[in-house]
Subunit: 255 residues, 4 copies
């Protein structure tokens, strides 16, 4: 079994060329959502199987589409409203009640995620966001703030099997590992297992990480699904052979 | 039959709300590609039929996806290469040979379309495009320049039927009506009819305009497919009852 | 006496050409700070007197330079800190204590002015501002919030004389007329007169509007000095012949 | 004699604080033009002498102001026109005749400098530049292309004395060392010496590098003056003790 590493930033994709199908499976690890989508679409046209699929990357990479996919399957997720202009976005924020979370639909590592505690914060952030997105027309994604207990739950689903569950804890409301959150192990309860697999299936993900929030009353909500999971934190905190599980799965679908 | 006009910039889309299906069909005329896609996705989740569909808008609104869809069906289209960085984009330009056309994948009215006649122009425009797209990660879309005879052909396909064909002529290589091009009638030849319907089908379009280029040897190439066709120019140049055809089609699928 | 209206967006400025001095005085009303500065610099090189001068426009158009000019003359103004990166800006905010005001150094009409009431608002707005200013390297301008009584005071100084004083009242903390503030007359007290003239002199302004804030203890602070004053609100609220005063002054320096 | 290195990105500048004058002289090496200007203005208010001065940095860091300063002193420089909108900029290009150079007024290392050889290149680059500068209102700086012999001349002036002259050669029309140009020694002719010192004086520069172009007829033109000279290339190509000359000068003005 051979493998190679492709840097899409070095490649010229000749759309009309008689492109040989050089690979059986491509594991996508692009940080850029846009590049991942285009590259996978082109590979798919050449008959290459990608992990994750175009549809899964499109859905997971955009929080609006993730939320819609979760709601469609009846999976619990925080209340969310979308608007395309500052005025209705402010109305949606006020209607939802403070605190509220504003997120860029496309983006990772908690970048530009805002917790708004009052109207003056909402006005300021919405105006900045509007100025920032002038050319991108990104919608305003307004979400209720979940009063979670200083941590969230993160699981990894590979080929329909939940591989691990960990806590990510932080004194900051953004519990992202990239922002200094701490990772610790967690026994995989049936409910977390079921929710994780349901979320992976809802977005059509082969290999995805699932973000789960615990509400004040203990109920669980799926927050996000990540199609290029990072797991250096989890490797310290669990016994699971994470990379091994991923490679085994890829070899299985390659054959 | 009732109808209403919706300005998506005024709407709060409550993703979790029990949203009643207020409309049978929605005709999408958003200028913003991003807003059109999100709004149509949300409507579709509510069971509303849209014209065009999410898939058609996604494909037509992005020139990379349009080109891939045309090539997949074997429809003749200009040679095209994609790159994600300035260096391979310059190599793709030089390999294709001057003149070459650089287009933003998403955008309309000929905006930011560049004809590059030499390497110094290519270097300058690619550097500007890179600076401009810093936050958007838009790929470089490099296409052979077709030596067309001062005009291109534009047709409208509604529900699988070609409604009209017109020439758009201009002394500028961009023959867009919005840029001052002149529109005149054209008898609908079997080849133009067949190509138009094939292009509409390739992108899954209910109501689309098809841009066709005549190469130096007279052969025809489908250039772009537009999912929110404007037709004020064509209304002067043809006898076709354009708006009527569109309304009839929408009423038909509504029932 | 002849006059003409120049739209700088229509002009080609030939820097090397033998440029005739076409005008005695030019009254600058550019909305763009950058265009005003360049145009006035070029006119000044040709020996044309401008109102305001290059130096006054440079100072008034940039809140950092205004604040420095006011402090240099000992004119009371809110406490202000500057930083060039997000981390020291956040430290400056926390050190100053909430609420705090963040302003873009260049800009008008209250655009992108933010009142930050807590650390989560500060983090969100500073991150958005950093993303927004990537290419502009605009500094973070952090200013104590003055607990003013629902209004501020605006005066106009023409050629060293205070022409009027008005209140601008609003339920919003931004009392800008362009944002719906209400304007009403105010007797010109000796202190307001003295402060207005001192501020105009500090920035070298021929015709400038002066923004004055009343602190909780009644003391007055100069907030901003505006080099292209708008006065439609003041025209309703005062008896002063505002346009006449400005024209008289311009004619006087033209002769 | 003590010294310290200041990273302005770490500093909180308290504008109102009783700021002690910590330094006698500050040598400015900021890459960001905006940060350099603000930091120097604040230092200057505190009574600190900076090299270069605020006025020199403001002039050298902006090609429009440099060109105006050179023309005012009668120093030969390429013909230049300024416009604030795409239409007059295109007219200025066509009037000047191809090839023409378009430069961002603020910027270094040859970044975004464009050589335009025909109208289609001009249209494409001007449209991209306009889109890029939407928020910055940077003017269009249009300059005649000088048919130089594959090299330009670069000199360093320290305290009114020309320290060295070198050629920078390249097969690319942009002969910047940062872009791979080659540096070689050059005897300092009286004309180059005189022109260099005149240019430094025109911009008020303590320590500046002067860019000189040789026209097809052998005449010399001052192109740019750089207020934060880099000299790693020149160190290989000349005997001059460059850093020593700079330090000596700074010590002299410090005492």
């Amino acid at each position: 079994m051979n493998f190679a590493r492709i840097d899409v930033r070095q490649v010229i994709f000749d759309l009309n060329g008689a492109t040989p199908r050089d690979y059986d499976v491509v594991l996508v690890r692009c940080l850029s959502h846009s590049r991942a989508l285009y590259a996978v679409k082109i590979l798919q046209e050449q008959g290459v199987r990608t992990v994750n699929s175009y549809e899964a990357i499109a859905t997971c990479g955009d929080k609006v589409l993730t939320t819609l996919a979760l709601i469609e399957r009846g999976i619990p997720t925080p209340r969310t409203a979308i608007a395309f202009a500052r005025e209705p976005a402010l109305k949606a924020v006020e209607k939802m009640g403070y605190p509220v979370v504003l997120k860029p639909p496309i983006g990772s590592w908690g970048r530009l995620m805002s917790k708004l505690n009052d109207r003056e914060a909402a006005e300021a952030v919405l105006e900045h966001k509007e100025a920032l997105d002038k050319s991108q027309d990104a919608p305003f994604y307004v979400q209720e703030y979940i009063h979670k207990p200083g941590r969230d739950i993160r699981t990894l689903v590979v080929g329909g099997e939940t591989v691990y569950a960990v806590y990510r804890s932080s004194t900051h409301w953004i519990t992202n590992t990239a922002r200094g959150g701490h990772t610790s192990g967690l026994p995989l309860s049936p409910e977390i297992d079921r929710l994780s697999r349901a979320a992976a299936e809802a977005v059509g993900g082969d290999i995805v990480a699932v973000d789960i929030l615990e509400d004040a009353d203990g109920s669980l909500l799926v927050n996000e699904v990540n199609h290029t999971p990072e797991f250096h934190g989890a490797m310290q905190a669990t016994e699971a052979n994470i990379a091994g599980k991923m490679v085994d799965y890829i070899l299985k679908i390659a054959s």
